[in-house]
């Protein structure tokens, strides 16, 4: 392995990112060149980053430690430490960045001549770099700086199209929520420092008392939970994702929210070491709720990107179900089960990156071609965008956990971990686990319903608007970027053990247990099972069997029935006049049965406005409105916000009166209190 010099590759990757940013600045007037240099640089840097992370994962060495910048001020040094976990998340990031950047070469062209493309590329690259530093930071201060940088840059990207209505509000909600989370993280890091005297992430946490560890866990959970977008702190996702440009949403949903998963594994599992089983149970509960509510709310959304944002909530829920089981298992000393559950969770993290990244890119393609994000205005795109439609169909199947794709394999592993955590006798955990099984099953079926809606309404049938009727196929780079992601979805779905080998490196590094004994699989293409706890699946064989059945069926039919006589004719219209696009099912209509069944979640309402003409029987116009209530915003956030506002007003009137004398008294009291504290402590 002479060619593999890890630190050179890492620095090389960073340097190319920086060079790409500089190129974007230099060519900021020549938009095409600017896009080409910046995004091609990103692709190159991402490939280098992926090679680097694979190298780290498969080299037997310890964590790579780099200290490129040591400052005179203590704790402000830039310390980079890359172990298997960091390398895994860098790999996920690099794969996604590579595809998204190829896509961006085509996608950003609709900004050319209209916006400051150079600024966009610089922000885009800075965003990627900030995420790399989040994954590789070796001490908590540097981690927190990278974390905040990531939040701020992504805020600028969210409000990049700031002239569009609602985007500023979206940015505001995002930045406020993310800072609430950051505040909790900061307190947790302060507790960490006050007991250990060090900000070292890889340090020892033995000196922290149990009560403080519990408190730190809660703070980490809230802090990272906000970034992950778990229910009930998910409200920023459905605002921020639709506002951001699609390639940025792909990065945000594909990898930025996963920084929270990284954080939970890094700080709770690796640093704090699981202390109590209730930690895992808490994560499991949050996972169940997020998985079901996320997909349920997604179903009611007809803005593609809002819909996808809610699906991120669902998938984070599924990831957390796996993580929760692994924490419970580790706390109970069941190392092997914990390892498998952790592998399931990390595997779903990667899979979600692939298909959700792809879906956001697909949403971008639709918007690029048809200029709308509203499903109700689309239709019939499969005829005009054949390549895009096949790719979006692949991602839709993958996210619905349907068989030959990757989403299924990681859900199967989650099922298997749930399956083996249930043993007769334990009450609470068994109930929770079986509820998780039900939640996974229901979220899978609801996701399928939701993606039948997304794909069926926007790509099939007849065009519901002029824009959809004349939507052109998108430029080749856009489809190429999505194509790589779709191919990866299928390949990993068919040959999951290949990737599980990579994940096993992480699991054995984090937990000290290798799960290859439990997760087995052959290397032959012909037979490629994944085995967990003696149960095995072989997706590739199923695919081959289905293909054989299809060919056999076609041959038999040909033999029996001869050549197919086919006649083209209009869709059955009950003998009336020709069908119009308005007579098709709409997305609102499609989801109506579920809206009625799950009305307790949605609190739907409707109104009919009729403008009457000469006769009551012939109204001039009718307007039918249907809506669902944003339950969390209305019943949790609005009252909370009002209470805070009221409290602030009271404080302003009673404490902050504007009188200099009063302020002097405050300062005097504060100084006195500090001196007393110093004296006592």
């Amino acid at each position: 392995m002479n060619w593999f010099v890890p630190d050179h590759l890492f620095y090389g990757s960073i340097m190319i990112y920086l060079a790409a940013a500089i190129a974007a600045v230099i060519f900021y007037r020549r938009h095409q060149l600017c896009t080409l240099f910046a995004q091609a640089g990103c692709v190159l840097a991402a490939i280098l980053g992926a090679v680097f992370s694979l190298g780290i994962l498969f080299s037997e060495s310890e964590a790579l430690l780099l200290e490129p910048f040591r400052s005179a001020i203590p704790f402000l040094s830039v310390v980079i430490a890359i172990d298997a976990l960091s390398a895994f998340f860098m790999l996920v990031l690099s794969v996604l960045v590579c595809c998204v950047s190829v896509y961006s070469i085509g996608y950003v062209s609709h900004y050319h001549g209209k916006r400051n493309v150079g600024a966009f590329h610089v922000l885009y690259i800075a965003f990627i770099l900030s995420m790399i530093f989040v994954f590789t930071a070796g001490n908590a201060v540097f981690f927190f700086m990278a974390w905040e940088l990531m939040a701020v840059i992504s805020y600028f990207l969210v409000v990049f199209e700031s002239e569009q209505e609602g985007n500023e509000r979206a940015g505001l909600i995002y930045i406020v929520m993310t800072h609430i989370g950051a505040a909790f993280l900061m307190i947790a890091f302060m507790i960490m420092f006050s007991y250990t005297g060090s900000f070292d992430i890889f340090g020892n946490s033995d000196t922290i008392p149990a009560a403080a560890k519990n408190l730190m866990f809660v703070f980490f959970l809230i802090g990272f939970g906000v970034k992950a977008g778990v229910v009930p702190v998910h409200i920023w996702l459905p605002y921020a994702h639709p506002a951001a440009p699609s390639n940025v949403s792909a990065l945000m949903s594909g990898i930025m929210i996963k920084t929270a998963i990284y954080g939970l594994v890094r700080f709770v599992l690796c640093y704090l070491d699981i202390q109590h089983s209730w930690w895992g149970v808490a994560i499991l509960c949050i996972g169940i709720i997020s998985a079901v509510l996320g997909v349920a709310y997604a179903l009611m959304e007809h803005n593609i990107k809002r819909l996808l944002a809610f699906h991120s909530v669902e998938n984070i829920g599924i990831i957390l179900i796996g993580l929760g089981i692994s924490f419970v298992a580790f706390s109970g000393g069941r190392e092997l089960l914990g390892g498998v559950a952790l592998a399931a969770s990390l595997f779903h993290t990667f899979n979600h990156t692939l298909f959700k990244g792809g879906l956001f890119l697909g949403a971008g393609s639709i918007q690029y071609a048809a200029h709308t994000k509203d499903i109700e205005k689309l239709g019939g795109l499969i005829k005009r965008m054949p390549v895009t439609s096949v790719l979006v169909l692949c991602f839709s199947l993958a996210i619905s956990a349907i068989v030959p794709f990757n989403g299924f394999v990681s859900e199967w592993l989650t099922y298997q971990s749930l399956f083996s955590i249930i043993v007769p006798g334990q009450t609470g955990l068994n109930i929770l686990s079986v509820l998780s099984i039900a939640a996974l099953a229901m979220s899978g079926a609801l996701a399928a319903a939701c993606f039948v809606k997304l794909f069926g309404i926007s790509f099939l049938g007849k065009a519901r608007s002029e824009a959809a009727l004349h939507a052109p196929e998108v430029p080749a780079p856009m489809n190429a970027g999505m194509g790589v992601l779709a191919a990866l979805c299928l390949a990993i779905g068919l040959f999951p053990m290949l990737f599980l080998q990579v994940i096993d490196k992480v699991v054995s590094d984090v937990s000290g247990t290798s799960v290859t004994g439990e997760l087995q699989g052959g290397f032959l293409i012909a037979s490629y099972p994944v085995t967990a706890y003696g149960n095995s699946i072989t997706p590739v064989v199923i695919l081959v069997a289905s293909a054989v059945i299809i060919l056999a069926a076609a041959a038999v039919i040909r033999l029996v029935g001869g050549k197919a006589a086919e006649r083209k004719y209009g869709t059955w219209d009950c003998g009336f006049e020709e069908l119009t696009p308005r007579m098709q099912y709409s997305a609102t209509g499609f989801t109506k049965p579920l809206r009625i069944v799950l009305r307790i979640l949605y609190r739907p309402g409707r109104s009919l406005e009729v403008e009457e003409g000469d006769s009551a029987y012939f109204p001039v116009s009718r307007k039918y409105n249907v809506w669902t209530e944003p339950v969390f915003e209305k019943y949790v956030y609005d009252p909370l916000l009002n209470a805070v506002k009221k409290f602030s007003l009271r404080i302003k009137l009673s404490v902050q009166t504007g009188s200099t004398h009063a302020y002097l008294v405050y300062i005097f009291i504060a100084v006195l209190a500090l001196m007393l504290y110093n004296r006592l402590a």
Binding site: G380, I382, W412, A439, A445, N535, I537
Partner: protein, 315 residues
């Protein structure tokens, strides 16, 4: 060699028996109405005729509409290969377990729902929309009931579950198996578009679910869709009879004769369940669509109670 025999038996039995089940149900219904009814083999004739007929395809339809019948048929048959009709031939095929089976059928359903939307017909959309609702509500109950049995057998592999059940004497007198079995019966009715969830013989837009999605199909596509649906029905019936009413432990002979005997008993059991479904169709009326969730909830509660009984209260 053994696994080749397994595939042949599986494919032949399922393909031949699946249309028969429909015929038997129809015959029983007809007899109950004092009609003579069509012969039990009617669906074979129908399929044969449909294979030879030409097709009318909507000019709005895309490749999804043409591909869907093949996908539905292939996924149903591939799922059927995972559910042994007899345990006398050991299945050495670790291609999939019950979870994969459920998600494989989901692939077929996904394409069927898309095909409903593909022709821009309001009927198709309506069928897809209702199917989406029913399947989302029934899915948790399928997995919880099957996994409960799997947990007792310590495997999610269907062959091994069936092997385990052979060792349990009279499973249906144990509460856990009884509740799971009843849950599965409700699932069969919901999954195979039977009264009281759906009405297979209707073409009235108020009541159609499954038929509405197939409305635009004709000729060989329709035949494949119908065959696929009847295979799926037999898959669920096979799950019910081979898990909860095991019989192979009573067969003491070995060899081909044993396999034959086992298959005969299997067919009798299938006919029994078909009769139960027919009686259910005769005795009930189609539920209002928004009463279906109650049935799904009943099924889920049954499977959940079974789980609780065994794993929380202890046997």
């Amino acid at each position: 060699m053994i696994s080749v025999a397994y595939f042949i038996v599986q494919t032949v039995v399922i393909l031949l028996a699946a249309p028969l089940v429909n015929g038997i149900i129809k015959k029983i219904k007809a007899l109950s109405q004092k009609r003579k009814g069509a012969p039990v083999t009617q669906l074979y004739f129908d399929l044969f005729k449909l294979f030879k007929k030409g097709m009318v395809v909507s000019d709005t339809a895309s490749w999804i509409f043409r591909a869907a019948p093949y996908v539905v048929f292939a996924t149903s048959l591939a799922a059927a290969l995972l559910v042994p009709v007899t345990t006398m031939i050991p299945s050495q095929w670790h291609a999939g377990d019950l979870i994969l089976m459920v998600y494989l059928l989901a692939l077929g359903r996904f394409f069927m729902m898309l095909a409903g939307l593909d022709t821009a017909s309001a009927f198709g959309g309506m069928g897809s929309s209702r199917e989406a609702m029913i399947s989302s509500l029934i899915e948790p109950s399928i997995l919880v009931s099957l996994i409960t049995v799997g947990l007792i057998a310590k495997s999610t592999d269907l062959y091994r579950i069936m092997e385990h059940m052979k060792g349990v004497d009279a499973p249906l007198i144990h509460p856990v198996y009884l509740t799971a079995f009843l849950a599965l019966l409700i699932i069969i009715i919901a999954e195979t578009a039977r009264i009281p969830v759906d009405d297979p013989s209707t073409h009235l837009e108020l009541t159609m679910v499954h038929e509405a999605m197939l409305l635009e199909y004709s000729g060989r596509s329709l035949a494949l869709m119908e065959l696929g649906a009847s295979i799926k029905q037999l898959v669920f019936i096979t799950l019910a009879v081979n898990i909860f009413i095991p019989n192979d432990q009573f067969i003491l002979i070995t060899g081909a004769a044993a396999v034959f005997l086992s298959l005969v008993i299997y067919l009798i059991k299938v006919i029994l369940i078909a009769a139960v479904i027919a009686v259910a169709e005769i005795c009930t009326v189609k539920l209002r669509l928004f009463s279906v969730p109650n049935l799904a909830a009943l099924s889920f509660i049954l499977s959940f109670v079974g789980f609780m009984q065994y794993f929380v209260l202890g046997r």
